[in-house]
């Protein structure tokens, strides 16, 4: 009975890692699409579908574990943290898809604040990768770094917002494009938030403390 439980916990860990890897791939693709290789954006919706499917699978697995094995202590934390994490990961997938949508629709690629967006995309990728790394290694320090890094990405968003306001003031004809870029920046900022959430749940799974509170 116990070995079955261990096996299922290992499966959960594996599936979650895989889901994280898919998210990483999705946002890496959107970043590349933003860099000019716009054909890559077409591959994101399929990935997004895969991520959604994984969310449902992992959810089912978690519920099955909760019902049949009644895990306690750290095992219970792992399962409940997994349940929360998949929601965030799924949102990351959604947002990557939204960015890909915008990127494949806009025309004037390469203008405005593309360079800053690129840095922001790299920061978002870094956060997602680091949060998945933290999960894989169950590493609280790494998770804390991810959470602290969220400020960097928030600041980057603020800067982009200001830059875009100036941009619109100078080139009113590119207003729509600028708004699209703002959306993209916002989505990257949201991805950063979700990555930070994932990191929070990693800390909870390891220590039992969520956002400084003992749950």
């Amino acid at each position: 009975m116990r070995s079955k439980f261990d096996e299922e916990m290992a499966l959960l860990h594996r599936e979650l890692t895989q889901m994280g890897a898919l998210c990483e791939e999705a946002i890496a693709l959107t970043a590349q699409a933003l860099d000019g290789d716009r054909g890559l954006a077409d591959r994101v919706p399929a990935l997004e579908g895969e991520i959604d499917q994984m969310e449902r699978d992992i959810e089912a697995l978690c519920l099955k574990l909760l019902l049949r094995q009644q895990p306690v202590a750290s095992d219970l934390r792992q399962v409940s943290a997994a349940l929360k994490m998949i929601t965030d990961l799924e949102r990351i997938g959604d947002q990557a898809n939204d960015i890909a949508d915008i990127v494949s629709a806009i025309e004037a690629v390469g203008q405005g604040v593309v360079a800053r967006l690129r840095t922001m995309a790299q920061a978002a990728i870094h956060m997602v990768t680091a949060s998945i790394d933290a999960y894989v290694c169950q590493d609280v320090d790494r998770a804390k770094k991810v959470i602290n890094f969220d400020d960097t990405i928030d600041n980057a968003f603020q800067e982009i917002k200001i830059a875009l306001v100036e941009h619109i003031a100078k080139n009113p004809e590119l207003g729509e494009y600028a708004l699209d870029q703002l959306m993209i920046a916002k989505y990257f900022e949201r991805i950063g938030d979700h990555a930070a959430n994932v990191a929070e749940w990693v800390i909870f799974a390891v220590t039992g403390v969520h956002k400084g509170e003992k749950l």
């Binding site: 890692t17 895989q18 890897a21 894989v136 290694c137």
Partner: protein
């Protein structure tokens, strides 16, 4: 074992004690009853004689004896009894011993009391007058005897048990002690019961076998580790559930992990979906491959399934570093594209000019200009083809005749031939240094110095200067070409030695040249096992320093 021996000894002691006790009891009882019987019979015959002589008076004067005498008449009626009044007694005619005595003259029988605790023995004798005299006495039965002895007997048993308990414990410990002290690592050294000798020999033999097998196993695994440790390719062994069984050091570097990764999920080491897909594919179909970048280098990953008896037991991932190969492939592709482009450009110009001339579209005074263009373009084509030819010759690494070349003289020779170009651009050309012989291929070295100086003049500014310095520096001959030209931006400094690379593509046409000069220089330096160093500051000038091993006496 000692418990078992202890129990056996104890049990044996008990059984021996009990059986000997019972046997002694029975035999003694039998003996005493027999003796008693004989004594009774003697008493009976004495009493019989007495009764024959004196009749009832004898019996009456007998007094109280430990036995009882009964005189029974021929009809069974009791005539006299020494212990009971005659009237109360029934007819004894049916008693077994009386009947026997009546019939044969003597009779005997014994009867148990109802409690089984006493037994009465009877002996009877027929007297001459037909009456029977019977003697009887009570005996204690075996059971009564036993019960009577119960107290001393139990005492005896307790003492015997205690003694045998202690003894058995001691004995069993003594028997077991040497067995416990057996040295199983060296079974033959034990001096113990000879019954153990075959077992010990067997253990010794198996010990030897085990040691040999362990050694062979360890050697094999060491061998594998050694071989894989020295592989420059990354090697990862996974089981059928993608758990890492082994990673060689190269693979640990690629996946940025350490020895602790064994037993972990491969997905934790490498999350790339392409990679998991390749491994999945290999586990399902037998083979998978992908090319991906890790830590800034490009790797070719080959994944193969491992099967044993038709069952999939895992997968092996081999990673080859293909960075150089990929770069070479890329530069070859670029080179081919460049060559075609570079060859086509002058030809287009020639064809254009020729067509205009052919159709008489060119006015008479312009004809020399057009013909001149055809000539210069053809000249350019020739020099291009010559350069390509020379490069491909060097690519082939064909052996060329080596000789001792004096580099200073060579540099002076080059500068003399470049004097017109320098003069045209108003660039001062100077050669300095000491004679420095190197062993090398003269045409190649000439080409090298020529290209360097040619570039130094071409990319110079009006009134600039080019200084060529040749000299010995330790074991090396060092040649440096220093100009005061336009310089090379830092981001292009690595690329100027690439074939057809031009820093400023727009100006290349005006300056001329094939874009192969520095590529030839690089190859020539490489051919002579030299070392090339470029220092440049945009707007200030460029210094290219080349060092060769000096021509030793052996060359």
């Amino acid at each position: 074992m000692s418990k078992k021996i202890f129990r056996a000894i104890l049990l044996t002691a008990f059984v021996v004690l009990l059986t000997s006790f019972v046997l002694v009891l029975l035999s003694l009882y039998g003996y005493f009853s027999e003796q008693q019987g004989i004594q009774l019979q003697q008493e009976l015959s004495l009493a019989a004689q007495g009764v024959e002589l004196n009749g009832q008076t004898y019996l009456e004067h007998m007094g109280n004896r430990e036995y009882r005498l009964t005189w029974v008449g021929g009809d069974g009626r009791v005539l006299y009894d020494t212990q009971a009044p005659v009237d109360s007694m029934e007819n004894h005619g049916q008693r077994e011993e009386i009947q026997q005595a009546l019939a044969s003259g003597a009779g005997a029988s014994s009867r148990m009391s109802t409690t089984l605790m006493r037994r009465t023995a009877y002996y009877a004798e027929r007297l001459s007058d037909g009456t029977v005299l019977r003697i009887s006495t009570d005996q204690v039965t075996v059971l009564a005897l036993l019960i009577g002895m119960l107290q001393p007997l139990s005492l005896l048993i307790i003492i015997a048990s205690a003694v045998s308990w202690v003894l058995a414990g001691k004995l069993s410990r003594q028997v077991v002690k040497p067995i416990n002290a057996l040295d199983l690592d060296d079974p033959l050294s034990n001096d113990i019961y000879e019954e153990f000798a075959p077992l010990l020999r067997r253990i010794h033999h198996q010990n030897q076998q085990l040691t040999a097998q362990m050694k062979a196993l360890r050697e094999r695994s060491d061998e594998l580790t050694q071989i894989t440790a020295n592989m420059s390719e990354g090697l990862a062994l996974l089981n059928d559930r993608m758990v890492v069984l082994h990673l060689n050091p190269a693979a640990q570097t690629i996946f940025q992990t350490d020895d602790g990764c064994e037993g972990r999920d491969f997905l934790e080491l490498d999350r790339s979906t392409e990679m998991s897909r390749a491994v999945q594919k290999a586990l399902e179909l037998g083979h998978g491959e992908l090319r991906e970048t890790r830590n800034g280098r490009e790797y070719q990953f080959d994944v193969s399934r491992i099967e044993s008896d038709g069952a999939v037991i895992g997968a092996v991932v081999l990673a080859f570093d293909v960075t150089e190969k990929a770069a070479a492939e890329r530069s070859r592709r670029e080179f081919t594209a460049n060559v075609s482009h570079e060859l086509k450009t002058p030809l287009q110009s020639i064809i254009g000019s020729a067509e205009l001339l052919e159709n008489g579209m060119v006015a008479q005074p312009d004809i020399p200009r057009f013909v001149g263009r055809i000539r210069t373009e053809a000249q350019r084509l020739v020099s291009l083809i010559e350069d390509i030819f020379r490069l491909s010759q060097m690519d082939e690494e064909a052996a060329m005749p080596r000789e001792t070349v004096e580099l200073l003289a060579l540099a002076q020779e080059v500068c003399t031939s470049l004097e017109p170009q320098a003069a045209a651009k108003n660039v001062r050309l100077a050669v300095s240094g000491s004679p420095s012989p190197v062993s090398g291929v003269r045409p190649l070295l000439y080409e090298m110095v020529y290209n360097l100086c040619d570039n130094a003049i071409k990319y110079n500014v009006e009134g600039g200067s080019v200084t060529v310095d040749v000299g010995l520096e330790g074991q090396n001959v060092v040649l440096s070409v220093c100009d005061t030209g336009i310089g090379i931006p830092p981001e292009y400094q690595d690329r100027v030695f690439e074939r057809f690379f031009r820093v400023d593509k727009s100006r290349s046409k005006a300056i001329g040249g094939t874009g192969l000069g520095l590529a030839i220089v690089k190859h020539a330096v490489k051919y002579h096992s030299g070392h090339l160093c470029l220092k440049s500051t945009p707007g200030q000038g460029t210094t290219i320093t080349i060092s060769f091993p000096a021509a030793g006496p052996t060359i």
